[in-house]
């Protein structure tokens, strides 16, 4: 796994709970606390999963809560700081979400990463359905990411998990980006 994931986790734990707590997480996960998680370095998947597991036990939160918090931190803080250009290309939340698959395609071209794929469809002008395809099955991370993106674009939306591979975005007002489904009757 690329170092950008444990680096973001470290960033989240250190900024919210202090550097000492991160070192405790590392010790709990049997990882050298001085390990340098450079974004493009390669790390063993098992080591990263141990860090995630240790984070939940040290912070006393469930895996879902930790995953959601990680997603929010990634979207609103970490990626916004490292990759501002990805956000600047879009004016609002919906246009950003519709650009995510293209963004991930560029990530695949650049690195050996395997980001998720989103299948987007408007159910109604206030409801966007999101099919989430990922080998890692981290739907809670996806929810946190969407909440983080909404926070970044300062938009008020509800993000609900519908199943292990589906989410919905519910807007308080009809979205101007709504497009009638291709096969609906006029």
């Amino acid at each position: 796994m690329k170092g950008t994931i444990p680096r973001c986790l470290q960033d989240y734990v250190s900024s919210h709970h202090g550097e000492g707590v991160w070192r405790t997480v590392c010790v709990e996960a049997d990882v050298d606390p001085d390990t340098r998680f450079a974004p493009q370095s390669r790390f063993d998947d098992a080591m990263v999963y141990r860090l995630i597991s240790a984070t939940t036990s040290v912070l006393g939160v469930t895996l879902e809560e930790a995953a959601r918090a990680f997603g929010r931190h990634w979207a609103h803080v970490y990626a916004a700081r490292l990759y501002p250009v990805a956000y600047e290309e879009n004016r609002d939340l919906v246009s950003f979400i519709f650009s995510v698959n293209d963004l991930h395609r560029r990530v695949i071209e650049d690195t050996a990463a395997s980001p998720p794929f989103l299948d987007l469809s408007w159910e109604s002008p206030t409801r966007l359905l999101i099919g989430y395809r990922s080998d890692r099955h981290l739907i809670a991370v996806a929810k946190g990411l969407l909440e983080g993106y909404a926070a970044h674009f300062e938009e008020d939306v509800d993000v609900n998990i519908l199943s292990a591979s589906r989410l919905e975005l519910v807007f308080p007002h009809p979205s101007p980006a709504f497009v009638r489904p291709w096969n609906s009757q006029r």
Partner: protein, 603 residues
């Protein structure tokens, strides 16, 4: 039934389109076994579970041929027009229409996750339908696969409108490319085999190296026009009796005329490449094809035709990689190919285990005071021994490993700097070479700055060196990357200045701090007045733009003196400092002046 009855809201273009469909009876025609064969072939070759040819009427979409789908689903309702879907404009598009979300293949239902389609046109250029590829897992299409899909769509057109285009039947399309008229590869192989019983023919491969760039900038139509023009030129020069085929969309193969024997073939190839490379007008603009050529060894009837074609192709690639216009294959080239494949295999392992080492070549100011260094990758393999960067960097570039190699160097440099600082050493900034693909990545600047933070370094600790090739590719993304890094306080060097694509406007607008004059101009500085004039003018221009100048390849005291007189700011070269291990570099930079300096007073 008129077109307006088909669709009451249709635009004039949509009306013409519907009339065309009606005229050819496309909605009424039943499934065609020949079209089915094309579609099945497309599905198999491109490895898709579902492929179908759909004719888009006003109210419904009719499936004309399909591979993989359940046969009961041959018509489905349609609500929008071509204009709404932009199908008329995009000859090939990759998107996932919501109507295609649920698919049925072999009686099983699944969610479509990838969709690509090429528009099928009638002989007047009106869109009548699409050749669709659908998959149930996320994926992408390579450029070549996209072109293959577009070619299959052309084949479908040939079948659908066989009456309108008598030469466009499926059989003819298999023998000849419908666009350029050259013979198919399959046909070429059989012709080559026949020729091998009469003479010992050589196969010549012609590669157009900049056709991919043209495709990305001007689209497929421009490529087709260039292909047609080059076919004309080739036929004119080698004779229409010689079989010529497209090897892929950016290369041709043909059988060398028997008069081109071993003594004259290279001369003939050079002459041919020169004439093929003449300017081609494309509307208001012109395109100058960059041609390289390769010829195989003479073929005997026992040889495999495919292998001989590949040999010619590899010879052309060898020519490109080594800066030649044409190469005739020999045993040496076969050995080189073998060596490259071994280097590739070992390099992949070395990168995965981060087994490259780093050397640093110091840079000095005019008074020969050390002021930094340039990091250079060194690789000593367990089996191959020392492999020169001139050998492994082109392999990395060719096989998509250049980004990984770049990050390997970045991390290695940061580790060395961080360890030196932890020991309390004073470390001047060191420059890392950054490849164009890295610069074009939207995440490069963020990841680089974060890597520095992770290692406890600042953007002032590291500098980057870019080459002029960045100006020929995705300049805008490269500009954003450079601006982000410069804003953070990182210095940017423009390397190898004078040998590539530099534009004065880029020099003015990009945040470049240093310009490195290529060693080619420095080598003959004392003897060539032209080189001296170029270097002096470059220094004056750079200073006028607020850019400092580094001279590379300084190998004599005389060169250093001349450069100082011309106002050059920084020197780098074997005379003042060879590439050395990082610890030795720290010792050199801890001195006040370079070891070569003491006996010489500053001019």
């Amino acid at each position: 039934m008129t077109a307006s009855q088909h669709c009451p809201i249709a635009s004039p273009r949509e009306e013409r389109r519907l009339v065309a469909i009606h005229r050819h009876g496309l909605l009424e025609a039943g499934p065609s076994p020949r079209l089915n064969a094309v579609v099945r072939l497309a599905a198999n070759l491109l490895d898709f579970p579902l492929c179908r040819l759909a004719i888009v009427g006003s109210r419904e979409v009719v499936c004309h041929a399909a591979a993989g789908r359940t046969p009961t689903d041959s018509r489905w309702p349609r609500a929008l027009t071509f204009e709404d879907e932009s199908w008329g404009d995009d000859k090939l598009f990759v998107a996932l229409p919501r109507a295609l979300r649920t698919q049925s293949v072999g009686g099983l239902s699944y969610e479509a996750q990838f969709y690509a389609a090429a528009t099928v046109f009638d002989p007047h250029g009106l869109p009548v339908g699409v050749l669709q590829l659908v998959d149930d897992c996320p994926r992408t299409l390579t450029v070549l696969q996209r072109h293959a899909l577009a070619d299959f769509a052309r084949l479908c057109e040939s079948e659908l409108f066989a009456d309108a285009a008598p030469t466009g039947t499926l059989d003819a399309a298999w023998l000849r490319d419908p666009e350029t008229g050259v013979v198919s590869r399959r046909h070429f192989r059989s012709e080559l085999l026949k020729a091998s019983y009469v003479t010992f023919p050589r196969v010549v491969c012609v590669r157009i190296e900049n056709l991919h760039t043209l495709e990305s900038r001007r689209g497929w139509d421009a490529v087709r026009r260039v292909q047609r023009k080059l076919t004309e030129r080739l036929e004119e020069m080698v004779g229409s009796n010689t079989p010529i085929a497209m090897n892929d969309w950016a290369s041709y193969v043909f059988v060398a005329p028997s008069s081109w024997d071993g003594r004259v073939i290279l001369q003939e190839l050079l002459m041919l490449s020169q004439r093929l490379a003449c300017r081609i007008t494309l509307g208001q603009q012109a395109f100058v094809p960059k041609i390289v050529m390769g010829a195989s060894d003479a073929m005997s009837p026992d040889d495999d035709a495919g292998r001989v074609i590949l040999e010619a192709y590899r010879a052309a690639r060898f020519a490109h990689q080594n800066g030649h216009r044409a190469v005739v294959r020999s045993a040496t080239h076969a050995e080189n190919e073998q060596r490259r494949s071994v280097v590739l295999e070992r390099l992949e392992r070395a990168l995965a285990t981060r087994k490259l080492s780093l050397a640093v070549q110091p840079k000095f100011d005019r008074a020969l005071r050390p002021m930094g260094g340039e990091v250079l990758a060194r690789w000593i393999d367990d089996e191959l021994g020392f492999v020169s960067p001139g050998e492994f960097i082109p392999v990395a570039e060719e096989h998509g490993l250049i980004r990984e190699l770049g990050w390997c160097i970045v991390e290695g440099t940061c580790r060395l700097l961080s360890e030196a600082k932890a020991r309390g050493s004073e470390v001047p900034p060191v420059a890392i070479n950054v490849s164009t693909p890295q610069l074009e990545s939207f995440s490069f600047a963020g990841d680089l700055l974060e890597t520095l933070t992770v290692y406890g370094l600042t953007p002032q600790d590291v500098e980057i060196e870019i080459t002029e090739s960045v100006f020929s590719e995705n300049v805008e993304q490269a500009r954003r990357t450079l601006e982000s890094l410069a804003e953070a306080g990182m210095s940017v060097y423009l390397d190898d200045y004078g040998t590539g694509y530099s534009s004065l406007s880029y020099l003015k607008s990009l945040p470049i701090s240093y310009l490195k004059i290529d060693r080619a101009f420095v080598m003959e500085l004392a003897r060539e007045s032209d080189d001296a004039a170029i270097v002096e003018a470059t220094i004056a221009m750079a200073h006028a733009l607020g850019i400092s100048v580094v001279a590379e390849g300084v190998e004599t005291e005389e060169q250093w003196r001349l450069l100082c007189e011309m106002g050059c700011d920084v020197v780098q070269g074997f005379w003042c400092g060879r590439p050395m291990p990082f610890d030795d570099f720290l010792q050199v930079t801890s001195r006040e002046v370079a070891a070569c300096a003491p006996k010489v007073e500053e001019p």
